[in-house]
Symmetry: C2
Subunit: 284 residues, 2 copies
């Protein structure tokens, strides 16, 4: 673990979906493994950001030298759970030149004219990149199931297709981390209400958010099925309590650090003669 | 100007390429308009980062509501001038979800099979985005001229094509800002040498950097022609002294803030009935 201070256990272990996992039994307001308050959490975020930026630079350097490794963070959650804040405050600490962000909204007609994985394939991270999916192919088995946009048979097919896709990614060098930000229903109500209080927040509110909220239980069930069917050793799921935004940020940050450290990166060897280049430079 | 402290004049005015501008007369080690040292520069960068992030969020919000406006920052420079640091430290302060970064390297065979603007068009920012070009279509008239990769006639054609392209961008709602980081030749030598001193920096060095360095004067001339031919009211050029990295960062940050402020953004009006949605939410 990169940051022993305050962390009594590794989020990678604590928040990992295990066999027999039940989403309905998970608290949303905890701070598992972190023995500190919001203020120490914010300090931990700043420290972790430096570590993350260093690791990402190393990944980028390796990618430039032809190593095929990359990282993909998949973010899923109910509205207002804090995906945007994770992107700003966790992903934002890394060099934008090495980050590939992709937000997946309502599919376009062109996207709908292809298999559901088509638009996702186009956005997978290249060698050396940290990819971030803000929503993802999981929408196709979440809203797809809740709103019955696909038949039961098609949904079955999709779980299998997702597993095959993620296995392919992992085998070609991408460390895949899937995160569900787990928000409490009451907390969501508060957050949605706050968007209706200030004119500079109105744009973040969408009446469809309430429509989806009215299907809360069905979404929780759809997530449970997702965990049951698509958690795997090569693309593990993590459920991160999200009522405390500060906790969710440091937890996801630690997951990313863990994934990057797991790549055992080393700085690339030069493919030129260092002494010879020093001489050339000196004479230039 | 968003940050009166230490700035005695607006970088947007001071660093703007003016009629009769001569690159050869510009100092690379100055800090025009900023009455402070490195430490106050770093504080200014932190303050400016918050302002920039706020403006970018507003641009993003407007984009979501269908307003066509966006911003494009074009970064050009000799090697080691600090483009990467600008991307990390200036662009990095904004939400990655609203930033579109594109690095342009040596063209691929597919890119070479198209007009030089083809790959550039694919990367222009969408409505609501801040786009960043790390190198750009200007390579095609810089290395293109210095290395004689294109005929004189073709180069002539490209200046015109670039002006037409940038005019189209501006007229469709994109505020274009073009920055040359202006580095001293001695400073470049130091920076290249430092990359040959540490194994964790070797990957940043490329023997081709010395090849280009040997053509320093030809590049300076090529930049002069670029300014003469492609500076325009709709897509202005700025030359930023870059020997002091901290100065170049706050200067480019101020240019971006100026461009965003110039859009006169307002928070979008809600396209739903706020009271009605409050009631729906309350009952949910």
């Amino acid at each position: 673990m990169s940051d022993q201070k305050h962390w009594s256990a590794e989020p990678y272990e604590l928040l990992r979906v295990q066999p027999g996992f039940r989403l309905s039994e998970q608290r949303t307001d905890g701070t598992p493994g972190f023995d500190g308050d919001k203020k120490s959490g914010e300090k931990a975020l700043a420290r972790g950001g430096e570590r993350l930026a260093d690791l990402q630079e190393q990944l980028f350097a390796c990618g430039r030298e032809g190593e095929p490794r990359s990282v993909l963070l998949v973010l899923q959650a109910m509205d207002t759970a804090g995906k945007g804040g994770i992107v700003s405050h966790v992903i934002g600490a890394m060099n934008p030149g090495g980050v590939h962000y992709a937000g997946f909204g309502k599919p376009t007609p062109e996207e709908l004219a292809h298999d559901f994985l088509w638009r996702v394939w186009r956005e997978v991270p290249a060698a050396g990149q940290v990819g971030v999916f803000d929503r993802s192919h999981y929408e196709d088995v979440l809203i797809g199931r809740v709103r019955e946009l696909a038949s039961a048979e098609e949904l079955e097919r999709r779980y299998g297709a997702i597993n095959a896709f993620e296995k392919e990614l992992a085998q070609s060098g991408t460390a895949v981390i899937k995160v569900m930000l787990h928000l409490g229903k009451d907390e969501q109500k508060k957050r949605l209400a706050s968007r209706l209080e200030r004119p500079d927040k109105y744009w973040k509110f969408n009446p469809a958010d309430v429509d989806e909220r009215l299907r809360w239980d069905a979404y929780q069930e759809a997530y449970q099925v997702v965990f049951d069917r698509t958690d795997s050793a090569y693309a593990p799921w993590f459920v991160v309590p999200a009522d405390h935004k500060w906790y969710a940020r440091i937890a996801v940050q630690q997951l990313l650090i863990h994934a990057l450290e797991g790549l055992d990166l080393e700085w690339p060897q030069p493919d030129y003669d260092v002494e010879e280049q020093r001489r050339r430079l000196e004479q230039s």
